[in-house]
């Protein structure tokens, strides 16, 4: 069962990531590479204290938010 208390910072990170990712004026290419690198960094970063997760899900969801915000709302060089 999805426990909201465990994933709440990840949701917030995703939202903030979308807002900042929208300000990237260049399209982020090679999304898969970014995702793999994000997972590796998140694994070594570890989760926040008291969040019993194997990796920093907040970091991964922030990167996903940035990429999604960039692909959907950003990526336009004015």
């Amino acid at each position: 069962m999805l426990e909201i208390s465990l994933y709440y910072p990840s949701i917030l990170a995703f939202i903030i990531g979308v807002f900042i990712g929208a300000k990237y004026r260049m399209k982020i290419k090679n999304i898969f590479g970014y995702f793999i690198l994000a997972v590796i960094i998140a694994y070594f970063l570890k989760a926040l204290p008291y969040y019993n997760l194997p990796l920093s899900l907040t970091f991964v969801s922030a990167v996903i938010g940035i990429i999604l915000g960039n692909r959907v709302f950003g990526g336009k060089m004015s």
């Binding site: 709440y8 990531g17 300000k23 070594f44 926040l48």
Partner: protein, 263 residues
């Protein structure tokens, strides 16, 4: 000559590659400060409880100091000293242009650009993590905001006027306003609930204000205050960096325009 250089390059590449492979095989990465926080019982974050629990009003004042600093930067390096419209007319640039997008501005080599773009993405993500973990780890709004602003600075330094990450003026204004208003309004809500300005409340009715594992659910509004401070610092430092980076561009433009006018 070329063969000797190739030989030296080949040997260096081999030695460098072998040393990297050797270090990777013996790599031991420390789990970071989070482990220290778990093994040594210093949660809830003592510094954070001082900053946002005992003297949150003082933190609000510190944030406003940053606003004043940015305003002074704006007065010195901004519109009041350099006539923006005059430059735009001279270079036939659209009104919507920022200073920095008037013309191509210097950029670094492809190697730096290749690294700077992904590095800025991960720096922004790390900044977000630092902001959101501010109540339970070292860091917080100020540090996270500074990290995101430094991602912008890295991007601007590497790419010049074609910077992939660019916060326009109105966006920074909005961030600054949202950050300040969130902080002030949370203080007012605390006054209604607890009777004191910036009172840290943990729930509204039965609903926790910041859903978290039960050990740290007492954080209450502190994470939101961290986010507000983070947005303010992000906006403030980005504006200051933007103004200081533009100063050089503007002076160059004025000198060039004077040369054109003198001809």
């Amino acid at each position: 000559m070329n063969s000797k250089r190739d030989l030296v390059a080949g040997i260096s590449f081999f030695v460098f590659g072998a040393s990297i492979l050797y270090s990777l095989s013996n790599m031991h990465v420390n789990p970071g400060v989070n482990l220290v926080y778990l093994t040594h019982y210093i949660i809830p974050n003592y510094v954070c409880s001082v900053i946002f629990g005992w003297r949150a009003y003082d933190t609000l004042g510190e944030c406003l100091v940053l606003v004043v600093a940015v305003m002074v930067s704006w007065i010195i390096f901004g519109k009041s000293l350099y006539d923006n419209t005059y430059l735009k007319e001279l270079f036939k640039a659209p009104e919507s242009d920022d200073y920095i997008t008037l013309h191509g501005w210097g950029e670094y080599t492809p190697i730096i650009k290749f690294l700077a773009f992904p590095a800025s993405v991960f720096m922004v993500a790390l900044g977000i993590v630092t902001i959101l973990g501010g109540h339970i780890t070292p860091g917080g709004g100020f540090q996270g905001g500074a990290l995101i602003a430094s991602a912008l600075i890295l991007s601007v330094v590497a790419f010049g006027s074609k910077s992939p990450l660019w916060f326009d003026h109105k966006y920074l204004e909005k961030l600054e306003a949202i950050g300040a208003l969130t902080y002030l309004l949370l203080g007012v809500v605390g006054m209604f609930i607890g009777g004191y300005y910036l009172f840290i409340f943990t729930s509204v009715g039965n609903l926790p204000i910041f859903p978290a594992p039960k050990e740290i659910v007492t954080a209450g509004i502190i994470p939101y205050l961290n986010i507000a401070v983070g947005l303010k610092v992000l906006a403030g430092l980005s504006t200051a960096a933007f103004l200081l980076s533009c100063e050089k561009v503007i002076i160059e433009r004025i000198e060039k325009s004077e040369e054109i006018l003198n001809k």
